[in-house]
């Protein structure tokens, strides 16, 4: 068998078998009982050469309507943002992407330092004290926040706002089942968490209240009022946040959040049909030793030189085993690197400018829709998304839009029975005035 990934030659094989003292490679499998031996070959597609496989997969990729050749107004948790070209150049350094978890710090300082920088940037954006090295995604990060809260408060009920991303809510519920935690939804009113309902539902048995900021409908949640209600009952205040928005919005840390978790996908990470993205997890210093996942800390070597190591590992599964409070091992390190490079490129001024641009362009689009007679559901302060009411099913409109090279907004009727024919529109900084105008006009044509 000759293959470009397999350097074994016949003479190597002969010499190696001799050293081992067996006649054939097959002898090395004599410990696998006949009764479980797989005979023959897998019935899978035969190998293809590099060129023909590239061609086949190029054609397969071309069957998809991608965000680079179409104009997207679809967000709902995953966003088409400015991706500095430099991000992919850094990621392509294979010293990063072909490395494993930095368990040997002397030869992993690059990765460790990059993660230390990532942790710092997440702390800066969220206004929190401590951030970990990443989670799988925003949804599972939120589930871990619920579990941490239940463990920390020794309470078994979690309230989650219905204005949190529906798929994140589902993930939180799946995890909660495992931990015998009850999850109850707080209704939304006018597109934000219903404070009156929350006041009625909360009590001293509630481990955490989870909200999203900006929320799934794009609205800015009243974190100040929420915090007062939640902390009056010593429940944990958990906020899921799009980090890009925190260039413009007062960070949840300022409002007294205990845990801020979310997805850093909007910073330099391709939408990639939903993954891999990059969950982040930030807490107050009080919760530092309860954080799930890996943490990188600063220290010194025997000569006093600064260096970085994985630290506080006593929390983690490979040490605590069945006493661990989280089972996460692999995380999203490479995507955390991508987010770091994007946050670095944007820097202090760029994140502010980018967040502002999202608000300006979304605000402009919202105004245009209103001008031609669309009703905006949940009118009020929002970031880069808003909800419009259509008089036809969203799916039908989106099919017509796609013929014009436009990927329309999210069909809220999929998740909310009372929001049939409501479209969640996302307008990021990438959309030009012309693209917005064309979109609004097309929508107006179908709306008539």
């Amino acid at each position: 068998m000759k293959h470009r990934y397999l350097p074994m030659t016949e003479s190597d094989q002969k010499a190696m078998l001799e050293t081992i003292g067996v006649k054939s490679a097959e002898d090395l499998f004599s410990d696998i009982p006949e009764s479980v031996r797989f005979k023959g070959e897998y019935k899978i597609k035969p190998a293809k050469s590099e060129t023909s496989l590239m061609k086949e997969l190029t054609l397969m990729a071309q069957k998809n309507a991608d965000l680079r050749t179409n104009t997207s107004f679809l967000g709902a948790g995953v966003y088409d943002h400015y991706m500095p070209v430099i991000v992919d150049h850094v990621l392509s350094r294979s010293e990063f992407y072909t490395a494993y978890t930095p368990y040997q710090p002397e030869i992993s300082q690059g990765e460790l330092q990059a993660i230390f920088e990532f942790q710092t940037m997440i702390c800066e954006l969220t206004g929190m004290d401590v951030a970990n090295s990443s989670m799988y995604d925003g949804g599972t990060a939120l589930a871990e926040a619920a579990m941490l809260s239940a463990g920390n408060t020794r309470r078994k009920k979690v309230l989650i706002s219905s204005s949190v991303h529906p798929e994140s809510k589902e993930v939180v519920k799946t995890y909660a089942k495992g931990q015998y935690i009850e999850v109850i939804e707080i209704p939304q009113k006018d597109g934000v968490t219903d404070l009156d309902a929350l006041n009625e539902m909360i009590g001293d048995d509630i481990a955490a209240v989870i909200v999203q900021y900006p929320n799934f409908f794009g609205r800015v949640e009243p974190l100040k009022e929420l915090e007062e209600i939640i902390h009056a009952h010593k429940s944990m205040f958990v906020v899921s946040s799009n980090p890009v928005s925190l260039g413009a919005l007062t960070p949840p840390g300022k409002f007294g959040a205990d845990i801020v978790a979310g997805d850093a996908q909007p910073f330099g990470i391709p939408t990639a049909f939903g993954g891999p993205h990059c969950g982040y997890f930030a807490v107050t210093s009080k919760l530092m030793r309860k954080v799930p996942g890996r943490l990188v800390g600063q220290t010194v070597d025997d000569q006093g030189r600064r260096g970085f190591v994985l630290t506080l590992q006593a929390r983690e599964q490979h040490i605590r085993r069945d006493k661990a409070t989280s089972n996460i091992c692999s995380n999203q390190a490479l995507n955390a690197l991508a987010a770091s490079v994007a946050m670095t490129a944007l820097g202090k001024k760029g994140v502010k400018e980018m967040a502002a641009a999202n608000m300006q362009k979304a605000h402009y689009a919202k105004k245009q829709f209103k001008e031609i007679g669309f009703e905006i559901a949940f009118e009020g302060p929002s970031f880069n998304e808003f909800v419009i009411k259509l008089n036809t099913p969203v799916k039908e409109v989106n099919q017509k839009l796609l013929e014009k090279g436009i990927i329309g907004g999210y069909d809220l009727g999929r998740d909310f029975a009372d929001l049939k024919n409501h479209m969640l529109v996302a307008v990021t900084e990438l959309r030009t005035k012309e693209e917005i105008d064309v979109f609004v006009k097309e929508m107006g044509d179908y709306h008539a």
């Binding site: 490679a25 070959e41 050749t69 494993y100 799946t174 960070p251 990639a272 049909f273 692999s330």
Partner: protein, 486 residues
């Protein structure tokens, strides 16, 4: 800052520099304070660096030079399958039609992506011998937990609510017991016998009416095939439990034995190990789960189905454990794994295992005279040595690992599994040449000699890395987890 320290990006920051090029602001602007309630417009700017594009590239290039990857050199980290990460995978994953798809687009506009996912599932079904596969879990541990949640749902659906215990061998990966805990189970440990295999007597002792499942890696973490697997399956199934396969070591048995044929009911795979999704410095991974027919109703939703040549997601799954991840899994890693499988084909995958096992046995035999070999039999894709002979000379396994750094190697996994004293666990993989294996073995032999003749050189290693041994106690006692501007 020490003069030899690598500056943090924050320390390179200079007010007024920028590294970005945002799209033109071409819409009329409104004062942001008019768009937000009072107190919600951010006042303090986040302390992110202000650097030029060249500053960024130099910074990360410098960091990359302080990092060892498979492309830098041999990386025989046991249980992690640090094989070559093919470059075609990276190209394909970056195609616009894969990298820039939104997960909530209409299914009709992403048929190519769904086709790839479906075909990958079909390939994994054949490779594992299972009946159905989900691609939703993001990593191995996530797959373990998903599989255990399905087993729990299965028992509960049968009214079998007393099954609260998951059995794991003492040699298991740490994620196994941790995943069991997160899925709401208690963990029971089953001992290994003197041959490094699960002790059947002990297994018979611990199974019972409360057994939900046995989690097993096969070959196990010692690199040994659990040859009594059918008997184990009988014991566990006989007690009404399910058999869970941790696929971390699948690289050892491709085309030789399939988990489905060994009696396993659930299996997770680590596509970033056997199927070359790169490890990325710790992730992202991908941890698909395969199941036998009786567990199909409990698969996480949505489930990808094919109807009349079209692919779509089925959300109507009343017995599903629910969603385990937003969207459909780590698609980008799945694209890489699919590309790899299509590059290898059936005979290629067979050769992968044969060469991986041959390489491991060759190294084991060459090293056996110089280190203790706790289990003297054919290994599979990896093997363990014990450094107890060297320990008597005052040289610990940690010292040996650090000394290997001076030779330009990433050390093997050390102190795992826990049931071998001063454990050194070596996994060469099939993508390494005999010359590489020989050089590494020669370095190990030299270190064994140094331990006898000149132990200080080993005890004080590494000598050539950019930084020496780090004070981990200080890092944990006084944690500094972020940069603070002075």
């Amino acid at each position: 800052m020490h003069k030899e320290d690598q500056p943090l990006i924050f320390e390179l920051s200079t007010e007024g520099r920028i590294g970005y090029s945002l799209p033109e602001m071409d819409v009329p602007e409104t004062d942001l304070s008019e768009l937000l309630p009072e107190g919600y417009l951010r006042e303090e700017e986040p302390e992110l660096p202000e650097v030029s594009e060249l500053d960024i590239m130099r910074h990360y290039t410098a960091l990359s030079k302080r990092n060892h990857g498979v492309d830098s050199g041999f990386y025989p980290l046991g249980s992690c399958t640090m094989k070559y990460n093919p470059k075609i995978n990276e190209n394909v994953a970056r195609f616009n039609g894969f990298a820039h798809l939104h997960p909530l687009q209409d299914e009709s506009s992403v048929q190519g992506a769904l086709e790839l996912m479906y075909d990958l599932q079909e390939h994994l079904i054949e490779i594992t011998g299972m009946d159905e596969v989900t691609l939703q879990p993001a990593a191995g541990a996530h797959g373990e937990w998903t599989g255990l949640m399905m087993i729990r749902a299965y028992h509960e659906a049968n009214g079998d609510t007393k099954r609260t215990k998951v059995i794991v061998p003492d040699s298991a990966h740490g994620t196994n017991p941790a995943s069991a805990t997160v899925a709401g189970f208690e963990t029971v440990t089953v001992k290994s016998n003197e041959n490094g295999l699960v002790d059947l007597e002990d297994l018979r002792r611990v199974v019972g009416e409360d057994t939900a499942a046995l989690m097993l890696t096969n070959p196990n973490t010692l690199g040994l095939f659990e040859e009594n697997i059918l008997e184990m399956a009988e014991i566990v199934h006989g007690a009404g439990g399910k058999l869970y396969y941790d696929g971390a070591n699948l690289n050892a048995v491709l085309s030789k034995a399939r988990p489905g044929d060994m009696g396993f009911d659930v299996v997770h795979l680590n596509l970033h190990k056997t199927f070359t999704g790169p490890h990325g410095g710790g992730g992202p991974g991908s941890g698909p789960v395969g199941v036998k027919a009786d567990l199909i109703p409990y698969l996480p939703k949505p489930v990808l189905v094919k109807k009349g040549g079209q692919y779509e997601f089925d959300y109507d799954r009343p017995q599903s454990i629910g969603r385990v991840k937003p969207y459909y899994g780590n698609f980008g890693i799945n694209v890489r794994a699919y590309t790899y499988i299509r590059t290898m084909g059936p005979d290629g995958l067979k050769a992968v295992t044969e060469y991986a096992v041959l390489n491991a046995n060759y190294m084991m035999r060459r090293l056996a005279p110089f280190f203790d070999l706790p289990f003297d039999r054919h290994c599979k894709h990896e093997f363990v040595l014990s450094g107890k002979r060297q320990k008597k000379l005052g040289v610990r396994t940690l010292d040996i690992a650090k000394r290997l750094l001076d030779f330009g190697y990433h050390p093997p996994t050390i102190y795992f599994p826990l049931n071998v004293e001063e454990c050194i666990m070596i996994e060469p993989t099939e993508t390494e040449s005999k010359e590489t294996l020989d050089s590494f073995v020669d370095a190990m032999i030299q270190i064994a000699k140094e331990a006898e003749e000149n132990p200080e050189i080993v005890q004080e290693a590494p000598h050539t890395t950019v930084i020496g041994r780090l004070d981990e106690t200080m890092a944990a006692r006084k944690p500094v987890l972020r940069y603070q501007k002075q």
